[in-house]
């Protein structure tokens, strides 16, 4: 996103003044449910990578209510969500916690406030771009892209480190070297792209994003 767009997005936010909860309710996927949280703490113990996070979902929801905008949108915790859905099935107030975490991650990412170089943020962006290119995921270019995300030298090192796995997958016919030349994809690619573009346009308009 260009700087001008970041500015435009920020000026869109002026109307929320300091009411971050309202901003989340209106602009984040399933954000209207945040106010239902009763801070029981059940979700906080549910995340597989929980010990490695700074902010559990419980904390994030508390911070939203306390108006801690920078801290929430700059947190890397949302990107540590594995989508295991432990929290959703346990929450006594039936908050769609996973979706709110995803929604916050998307929102912070679109505003350009999410932590730079966060590995899951990088991977997730690559994943979406990979899948929308052809309509189906190309596992080979996705994997190669991931290895090379930090540049050529470290990419070659990672790729060499993982070579035995890649080779084994190849032998087991579970990785197709020809995918680099195209591979699987939908036939009506034009239609698929038109749907994605239109959906994005509607969502951006609704949520006030300018890019």
């Amino acid at each position: 996103m260009s700087n001008a767009n970041v500015q435009a997005n920020l000026s869109n936010l002026a109307r929320y003044q300091n009411n971050f909860l309202r901003e989340v309710e209106e602009r984040v996927e399933e954000g209207h449910m945040v106010k239902m949280c009763m801070q029981c703490g059940v979700c906080a113990g549910s995340c597989p990578f929980g010990p490695d996070w700074e902010h559990s979902p419980q904390k994030i929801f508390m911070m939203i209510r306390a108006g801690k905008r920078e801290e929430v949108l700059g947190s890397d915790s949302m990107f540590m969500c594995t989508s295991c859905y432990n929290c959703i099935v346990r929450c006594p107030r039936e908050l769609p916690i996973t979706h709110i975490m995803h929604g916050l991650a998307n929102y912070a990412h679109r505003l350009g406030l999410a932590p730079k170089g966060q590995p899951t943020r990088v991977f997730a962006t690559m994943f979406w771009n990979n899948l929308t290119k052809k309509g189906r995921v190309n596992e080979l270019t996705l994997t190669l892209g991931l290895y090379f995300k930090d540049g050529l030298v470290s990419g070659i090192k990672t790729a060499l480190g993982m070579q035995s796995i890649g080779l084994a997958m190849l032998l087991a016919k579970r990785l197709n070297p020809m995918e680099i030349f195209g591979g699987h994809g939908v036939k009506d690619l034009k239609g698929f792209h038109a749907i994605v573009a239109k959906a994005k346009e509607i969502e951006d308009r609704k949520k006030g994003f300018t890019a």
């Binding site: 996927e29 597989p48 990578f49 490695d52 540590m80 594995t82 989508s83 295991c84 859905y85 432990n86 959703i88 099935v89 996973t98 995803h102 929604g103 991650a105 998307n106 990412h109 679109r110 899951t120 943020r121 990088v122 991977f123 997730a124 962006t125 994943f127 979406w128 899948l131 929308t132 309509g135 189906r136 995921v137 596992e139 994997t143 991931l146 035995s164 796995i165 084994a168 997958m169 087991a172 016919k173 579970r174 990785l175 197709n176 995918e179 699987h184 939908v186 009506d188 239609g191 698929f192 038109a194 749907i195 994605v196 573009a197 239109k198 959906a199 994005k200 509607i202 969502e203 609704k206």
Partner: protein, 299 residues
């Protein structure tokens, strides 16, 4: 038994020469034995998977799922959509439930679909293959075509996350679902019902971006299977299968462990039980060979 027909949504990983191609191969063999006709949704696309949210947002993700629904509704009317991949099932079913709940979202989604001349009426039903097996057949029916017993093999049933939560299989609990164990027992195998990593998370898509944290999960999942005396792990999820099988050698290299536990799909077990060959069961697609199953297949 009358032939049952479904609109099949294999998903990206279950294509030929993709990471779960052995799931696809064995599903086809299993369905043949059960006289199930799977017709691929014409020109289906990716579901967006669990990491699609970051760049994709909400509506684009729902819209691409609705594209599949529209295709199924038009070309395979009246047939339930059946997914084999947990993430595809989840992504599709979540999209469907959001669309059912909001006419506004339905309107916006159809506006997006119209860009490709498509329309979704809202009539599809989305199911996981395991639901089809248990609800449309049931354990007794499933046993009927059985030709060989899996006797003598001890299986740790690893259900994982997304086939289990948030939707799960009707009538099963989130903390201790029993269907996988029951399937193993139906075909004569020994199910290790006290396996305690049954519903643990393998790290999912984060195995790529957070390898160390995920490999810690995976090590627990495999080691617990060993502790319970398992000879193989069986799972319904392609991401679980790939993560838990593929990274064992990495973990061994880094941590000096000696993990070497085969990880199979239920459909591979069933194909062998139905008398299929090792090839039909996709056993040649294992990175860690399931020798005991190969032996039964060869008998």
């Amino acid at each position: 038994m009358a032939k049952k027909e479904y609109a099949f949504y294999p998903g990206c990983s279950s294509q030929l020469k993709a990471s779960a191609s052995n799931y696809l191969v064995s599903t086809n063999a299993m369905c043949k034995a059960l006289d199930v006709k799977l017709t691929e949704i014409p020109d289906w696309n990716c579901c967006g998977a669990s990491v699609g949210y970051c760049e994709g947002g909400e509506l684009p993700r729902i819209a691409i799922n609705a594209r599949n629904f529209a295709q199924a509704e038009t070309h395979l009317p009246g047939q339930d959509i059946v997914a084999t991949c947990a993430a595809c099932w989840l992504g599709a079913r979540e999209s469907k439930e959001r669309l059912d709940a909001s006419s506004q979202l339905m309107k916006e989604t159809n506006e997006a679909l119209a860009a490709a001349g498509l329309h979704y009426k809202g009539e599809v039903n989305i199911r996981h293959m395991v639901e089809v097996l248990i609800e449309d057949f049931g354990y007794d029916e499933l046993k009927k075509p059985m030709k060989k017993s899996l006797e003598g093999i001890k299986f740790a049933g690893y259900v994982g996350c997304q086939t289990n939560r948030p939707f799960g299989i009707d009538g099963e609990s989130f903390e201790n679902p029993l269907y996988l164990d029951k399937m193993v027992e139906t075909f004569g195998g020994e199910a290790l019902t006290s396996y305690d990593q049954k519903v643990a998370c393998c790290g999912g898509a984060l195995a790529f971006s957070e390898p160390e944290k995920s490999q810690k999960q995976i090590r627990d999942i495999v080691e617990s299977a060993y502790d319970h005396g398992a000879e193989m792990i069986v799972t319904p999820c392609p991401l679980c299968q790939a993560n838990v099988e593929v990274y064992q050698s990495e973990i061994n290299k880094k941590q000096g462990t000696k993990l070497n536990m085969p990880v199979l799909y239920y459909s591979q077990l069933m194909t062998i039980a139905y008398g299929g060959s090792a090839k039909e069961a996709g056993l040649n697609g294992q990175l860690i060979r399931a020798e005991k199953l190969e032996r039964i297949a060869g008998k």
